[in-house]
């Protein structure tokens, strides 16, 4: 790949990786994956993954969105299904199915100063817990995490709670782990949501 082609395929600027194959993989990775026989039991490994989701929560709560986005792979997916079983994003609308560029759009919009739904900004605190890790059955090098999330969001005059569970797909990068797909399953994902404008 020459430098011009590489620039043309910069996932922050163009979207070449959201292919039928990627959709197929994502749907397969996120189906039937929470299996006891593939659970990670090593305490040090489990601690690594717990620290990863805790760091993510801290960065999002502190509005360090660019740092948070750097935890995701360049070719990442940020997915909030609109149906309780996750659904198939090829065939149906989701709340959010962002690739890298749209995720950066999301952050850019919040930074314009004209995103009225975030003026004033929400203040959030996230509780993340029940972190479990599993070895991906499609790729033994990849890990899947399940964690529960409770987001308390104060904006304007009131505090509300958004509850859900998060599924991360991770792969190793330079001795650490990067997030390739982050799926947030809100428990009320198929009900009407008020002002879903922060990064959840």
């Amino acid at each position: 790949m020459n430098s011009a082609t590489r620039a043309a395929h910069d996932p922050s600027r163009t979207s070449h990786y959201v292919t039928d194959a990627l959709y197929r993989d994502v749907v397969a990775w996120f189906t039937d994956w929470q299996r006891e026989d593939r659970a990670v039991t090593d305490a040090a490994a489990r601690d690594t993954f717990r620290r990863l989701v805790e760091r993510e929560a801290r960065l999002l709560d502190n509005d360090l969105l660019e740092e948070w986005a750097a935890m995701l792979a360049p070719e990442c997916i940020y997915w909030i299904p609109a149906s309780a079983n996750g659904g198939d994003p090829r065939r149906e609308i989701t709340i959010t199915f962002d690739d890298r560029r749209r995720l950066e759009d999301r952050i850019y919009r919040l930074r314009t100063g004209y995103a009225w739904s975030q003026k004033p900004k929400s203040r959030t605190v996230r509780l993340v817990g029940n972190v479990e890790a599993f070895i991906c059955r499609h790729d033994p090098q990849a890990r899947m995490l399940r964690s529960n999330v409770l987001i308390s969001e104060f904006r304007g005059f009131e505090t509300r709670c958004l509850a859900g569970w998060c599924a991360h797909r991770l792969r190793e990068r330079a001795g650490g782990w990067e997030i390739t797909v982050r799926q947030l399953n809100l428990i009320d994902c198929d009900r009407n949501l008020r002002n879903p404008s922060v990064i959840l």
């Binding site: 163009t14 979207s15 989701t94 850019y108 919009r109 003026k119 404008s197």
Partner: protein
């Protein structure tokens, strides 16, 4: 069997009997009470969401016999069902015994609805089928009064299913009138002239339902309310002409226009801003996940026909608003659902292209996958800011001594507004004439005592 309903003329809880709607709705402004008063909201649930045709469902939500989908007509819980004979019915989701809702699922398939409370079971035609231990009753259960109540008139226009409780309402096609033109054009850009619903972006705001209907042809707010979206969708664009960029400068000088189409319907037509040629729509579509990949695939698979396919992935630049609760916006079918005087759902159903004739081959999957992603943009990056502004209107209106809300842009400006022979009123894109006209229709309905009926199977 028809039952006329004894509707109290607007159940007004205020001491001063009834409102003077001529006072509340004036030529250039409306009183804040029409957005804030719970008594007016209660009256709307019969005068508007009862006495007019109200959008209930899309036929793709109940494609086969026995399919059902639960929704509301105003606040009335409704089971939309295609019965065993294929007839579409809007059943009141209410057991005739004790009033319990019969069905608590969002959708599914059922020949019968059995009340979870005492086990009364009804066919999906609404007819009472079984009552446990019938020998404990002296009554005649063949009396139709025990069959589930249903909306007496349910009609479909090209897949859009509407219902009314008003037997005197004009036929649905007359009610739609000129707005059926844009609906036809919107449908006919798709193969076979139809779409199917595929899930939804579901949003809610703390504000009156009319704030959404006031907004949905408003070309004045775009550059201000959606500034973050306009900046975002053009951040990487060389020409800076993506999405709604045609609002930049003076939108009134652009060829787009707003129209009042009668019976409360209004329409904002942005298509004249765009050249009539394959690919013109696609050129201004903002970036979505998969854009470059799918464009490459379609060009490879379809050659010269690719542009036409890409236009199906792009948002159709229309706002078609059917009073009181249906808005066809881009590729979405948006439904406005009033929940209380200051709480409203806006549900943006996504639509997919159906290709029964197989004209697109396996490219149809690329088209629809990208179409899902393009549709997700506006609810995420645009609608949230409008809803924040609607909530701030509702909050501002708590300053009750400052009574008036204005909708007079364009009023009295010579040469701005045109009336066609068929009564359609058109004006430049930022004009509020559509608001003034639809609210007059609202006023007419609110002044008219509603004559409502329900029906039961004989």
């Amino acid at each position: 069997m028809l039952e006329k309903i004894r509707t109290a003329p607007a159940p007004i809880v205020r001491p001063n009997a009834a409102y003077d709607y001529d006072e509340l709705v004036q030529e250039d402004r409306v009183h804040q009470l029409i957005y804030t008063d719970p008594a007016i909201f209660t009256a709307e649930m019969t005068h508007v969401f009862g006495a007019t045709w109200v959008y209930l469902a899309h036929e793709s939500q109940i494609p086969k016999p026995d399919d059902f989908f639960t929704t509301r007509l105003g606040l009335r819980p409704i089971i939309m069902v295609r019965d065993a004979q294929g007839q579409v019915r809007a059943l009141f989701n209410r057991c005739t015994h004790r009033g319990t809702t019969l069905c608590r699922l969002e959708r599914g398939s059922a020949r019968m609805f059995r009340c979870p409370y005492h086990g009364w079971a009804f066919l999906n035609s609404g007819k009472l089928q079984t009552v446990p231990w019938r020998d404990g009753y002296a009554c005649d259960f063949d009396d139709p009064k025990f069959n589930v109540a249903q909306v007496p008139r349910v009609e479909s226009y090209r897949g859009f299913i509407f219902g009314t409780l008003n037997m005197a309402a004009m036929p649905l096609t007359d009610y739609l009138g000129p707005i059926s033109g844009p609906i036809d054009e919107w449908l006919d850009r798709h193969p076979g002239g139809r779409v199917v619903i595929r899930e939804a972006n579901r949003l809610m705001y703390r504000g009156n339902w009319k704030l959404a209907y006031d907004n949905s042809s408003d070309g004045y707010h775009v550059i201000f309310s959606h500034r973050s979206l306009l900046e975002t969708e053009n951040r990487l664009a060389e020409e800076g002409d993506k999405g709604m960029s045609f609002y930049k400068g003076r939108p009134d000088d652009a060829p787009m226009y707003v129209a009042y189409m009668g019976n409360g319907h209004h329409f904002k037509d942005k298509r004249p801003n765009i050249e009539k040629r394959p690919g013109a729509l696609w050129e201004i579509e903002g970036a979505a996940p998969g854009t470059e990949h799918v464009e490459g695939e379609l060009r490879r698979k379809l050659g010269a026909r690719a542009l036409e396919a890409l236009d199906l992935c792009a948002s159709e630049p229309v706002n078609i608003n059917v009073f009181p609760n249906l808005s066809i916006l881009g590729n979405h079918i948006q439904v406005i659902e009033p929940l209380s005087v200051d709480t409203t759902n806006t549900t943006w159903y996504g639509t997919a292209v159906v290709d029964e004739a197989g004209i697109w081959g396996d490219a149809i999957h690329d088209i629809n996958a990208l179409r899902m992603r393009t549709q997700e943009q506006f609810p995420n990056f645009g609608e949230v800011d409008d809803l924040a502004n609607f909530e701030e209107i509702q909050r501002g209106l708590a300053a009750q001594e400052d009574e008036w809300v204005y909708m007079h842009r364009g009023l009295g400006v010579p040469g701005r507004i045109r009336v066609a022979d068929n009564g359609v009123i058109t004006a430049p894109a930022t004009d509020e004439v559509f608001m003034r006209e639809y609210i007059k229709e609202w006023r007419r309905l609110m002044r008219t005592p509603p004559q409502l009926s329900i029906r039961r199977e004989p």
